[in-house]
């Protein structure tokens, strides 16, 4: 295999481009694809102050690295979710990445700062762990960006993520969500804009980027995500991609080009027209008295009620024998 650009020995094949690349030109491809996504969707301005949502995984560290290489002013924000060793380890990867490159990483901890962690909080609130985790992260990223005066939140969502979400929304015809599949959500109601600059790169490419750039990231999967539908959709799409290279790209980008606009009306009427007021607890914009995160916090931190009335205990072995 030879690199399409320089004809030197290739180290990776990208079948949807029908091309192979050496390390140098593969890294350039990743930066070019990211810059192209930023340009096409007008995601970021050169003067923007950017807050990158960092998990310690490949995608968030790759996007932080690429944005820095492209000359953007980007700080990181990490949320400790309290998922045992997984969270401790992921925090270590995020901190090492930032300190080795002299970048600023802000951190917040769900248990220390809000009184619950994802495993216990989701159970107490009767929510799926991934749902409680996603809600908490979205809220805390928004608040950190508003507090710090950032213009944009950037996440490491890649082509596989977006294609898998699209597949789930199409399978269940979640038309309200189909209106929100664009890789840029403009600033509104006091929330900063949210951008996904890696949408032109697959997970295989972001992982390869990290390996070639010497970025040490958390390879192990989140123990709470095992078996979720999102992963099943990704596996199904990769089975299709194996036989039809470029299928994931066409599925997502042709949806954006040819179908997404048909669902935007739903977004306008459902969300944008509803006036928001500050949450009475935290001040975040919400259409309820308290925001979803404060409602989750209330349920997740509430004490388990004591059962009233006579209780039984198991007899001590000596009592049982007497």
């Amino acid at each position: 295999m030879k690199c399409r650009v320089c004809r030197g020995p290739a180290i990776i094949d990208i079948r949807r481009h029908n091309a192979n690349f050496c390390a140098e030109h593969f890294l350039k491809l990743c930066r070019d694809q990211t810059a192209k996504a930023i340009d096409r969707f007008a995601m970021l301005e050169p003067s923007d102050r950017i807050l990158v949502a960092v998990s310690g995984g490949k995608d968030s560290l790759a996007v932080w690295d690429i944005l820095t290489e492209l000359g953007f002013d980007a700080d990181g924000f990490y949320v400790g979710l309290g998922i045992g060793d997984y969270s401790d380890t992921s925090a270590g990867y995020a901190r090492r990445f930032a300190s080795e490159r002299g970048l600023t990483l802000h951190t917040e901890d769900l248990l220390r700062d809000h009184g619950f962690d994802v495993p216990h909080g989701s159970r107490a609130a009767k929510r799926a762990p991934c749902s409680a985790c996603g809600l908490s992260k979205r809220h805390l990223f928004d608040e950190a960006a508003r507090r710090g005066g950032y213009d944009a939140i950037v996440t490491g969502h890649n082509l596989d993520d977006e294609a898998a979400v699209l597949m789930g929304n199409v399978l269940h015809w979640h038309t309200d969500y189909l209106g929100r599949q664009a890789p840029l959500l403009p600033a509104r109601h006091g929330f900063p804009k949210k951008a996904k600059p890696l949408v032109r790169l697959t997970e295989r490419e972001t992982a390869a980027y990290c390996v070639l750039r010497g970025i040490d990231y958390l390879v192990d999967e989140c123990p709470m995500a095992v078996g979720n539908k999102h992963l099943a959709y990704k596996a199904a799409l990769n089975d299709i991609e194996r036989d039809s290279p470029g299928a994931k790209y066409d599925f997502y980008f042709r949806f954006l080009d040819q179908a997404a606009s048909r669902f935007e009306t739903t977004l306008d009427t459902d969300t944008d027209q509803i006036p928001l007021a500050p949450c009475t607890r935290c001040g975040a914009p919400t259409n309820n008295a308290i925001c979803s995160f404060c409602a989750l916090t209330e349920r997740a931190t509430s004490a388990v009620p004591l059962r009233m009335g006579a209780t039984r205990r198991a007899p001590h072995p000596e009592e049982a024998n007497s």
Partner: protein, 66 residues
């Protein structure tokens, strides 16, 4: 050769020489969702791996609700 796999972590002994793509086929692993790494760098699909190679096959799929 020694093959180190992640998610879940396990070690396999595979007979070589064998190409990267044949190895992935033998283990029923999709090339779209795995990287093959030797000596800290990527190895392409047509590379012939020696019987004494030590390699890592890394799954690249991640994510809950993101």
């Amino acid at each position: 050769m020694k093959v180190h796999l992640r998610n879940p972590t396990r070690e396999l002994e595979i007979e070589g020489p064998i190409t990267v793509s044949a190895l992935l086929d033998q283990l029923d692993l999709n090339r779209e969702s795995h990287l093959v790494i030797e000596d800290g760098t990527l190895v392409p699909a047509d590379k012939m791996l020696s019987p004494h190679a030590v390699i890592e096959i890394r799954s690249v799929i991640s994510g809950g609700e993101r």
